[in-house]
Symmetry: C2
Subunit: 316 residues, 2 copies
Amino acid sequence: MKVALVGTGLVGRAWGICFARGGHDVVYFNRNRERAEAAIAYAGEILPDLEQMDLLNGFTASQVRSRLQPAERLEDALAGAHYVQESLPEDASLKRDIFLEMEAAVDPDCVLASSTSGIVASAFTRDLKHRERCVIAHPLNPPFVIPAVDLVPSPWTSNTVLDWTAEFLRGCGQAPIHMKKEDPGFLTIRLQGAIYHEAFRLVAEGFADPEDVDICIRDGLGLRWSFIGPFETADLNAPGGIREFVGLFGDSYRDLYPKDGPIAWAGALLDEVEQARRSKLAMSDHPARQLWRDRRLVSLVAHKRAQARRDCDNDG
Amino acid sequence: MKVALVGTGLVGRAWGICFARGGHDVVYFNRNRERAEAAIAYAGEILPDLEQMDLLNGFTASQVRSRLQPAERLEDALAGAHYVQESLPEDASLKRDIFLEMEAAVDPDCVLASSTSGIVASAFTRDLKHRERCVIAHPLNPPFVIPAVDLVPSPWTSNTVLDWTAEFLRGCGQAPIHMKKEDPGFLTIRLQGAIYHEAFRLVAEGFADPEDVDICIRDGLGLRWSFIGPFETADLNAPGGIREFVGLFGDSYRDLYPKDGPIAWAGALLDEVEQARRSKLAMSDHPARQLWRDRRLVSLVAHKRAQARRDCDNDG
């Protein structure tokens, strides 16, 4: 397939590598042609390292590099494209203009995606003729290393487009996060914000120095979170799964947020969460998964020690 | 030094391994003597694996094993101990009784620590003669794998005891998190609670399924957090450091919490956080640290892929 990048800065140039390792031809467009070429040169420089770290879906650096090319004009970049990734500055009117311009140049079934980290798609796709094909695909940086991508619909994004885009991104080595309805707080932003908010609050209220907050995450909670999410963490923290966990610890967690109108971890919400967990992990497999988690933790700590030793060797 | 465990369940038995790998003699006490012996037998079973994973501070499994012994009576366990770790059930009156009993049997300068995950030390150490030696050392499980330990004072815990305990724990391979004043929400609980709270809220408000919340952490945010904390993450996310980060993104993060009386990331609070970061990382070293972070991310992803392949091989 043909993929077009509109905007080739830090975000766009990293996306290019993902799409090319997915097996697609990637055309780089920037109003300043030199910047498109610089983005391709950047890929050329780092692809050998990514090949060595097995981050190219089994392709070689030169195979991936051969799929990248610049385009002189926007129309050339978009002609015949199946997927376009827009990565322009965070400005709704700028995005509105470029989406109208892009629509005029692409085939009717081409998906138009934006890298925006916080502008909702309805703010810049409303006036398109085929606005059902517009979606937000917001990466963490750099996406060729970090798989997670916020996939956020507008009210008029079609399910076909959402499903197709999720599958397309998975083929590029990404892990799409489906947001079910539009909101400027994408999941990566809201969950990161929850940690930032609590981190600043702990310092503001005199409970801890910033470094101790960082220790708590990097030498504590962050270890598990690098391979299991919070719901699986809770599910594995009680022999009876997440419902038992909530029974044991739910009240004390909720009591931490008296002013914040705490959500009751109960009723239909708890049913939904428990059902989601059981569809991923039958209770009969629960004890084995706890052992798996413990082994993964031990391996991760061994990995971190090896990395720390390498850091020391490099310093010496 | 001599260390005594009072309570040898899941938490106590894991602590025993930490103290013994710190080079100390560890005496296990349980009212039911068989449980103390079972806890030592458990250590004997897993120590060879821990040695192989380099989790014993350079000691062999048999060296560590040779330092563990059960005691018949509480007095025997406590006589001449330098440090006592209490890990009884979460019941303030039970802890009040055992702390009085322990004080009667130990030397005057022995440190008395509790593993409680949420009862403040003032609730069970008030009536001790030398209550300044009491402190909370709350581990994540298991502490011989996860280094972080909440170190929480009561209003009367002495700084000498706090500093000594932090140093003692570091010698056992732990990473103490200094809490500056007493509160039932220890740092590990509050930061974990912040994520649980937001995770349940995202599901309750219909924004995402539980599995997508988990993807967001395990394939996204959790990668960095396994080796850098939130303040360092923010500091490295802008070329000018955390003050520039707050200028660029602070408003949009705060806007996520309209009902929660958001903390202003500004003024003296921002000064304090910036100063803390600069004491850890001079701006002249900032670009090199960003490269280090990127290399660590790539290595971590390679590690995760290798682990996933091993899982597949085991399944096949």
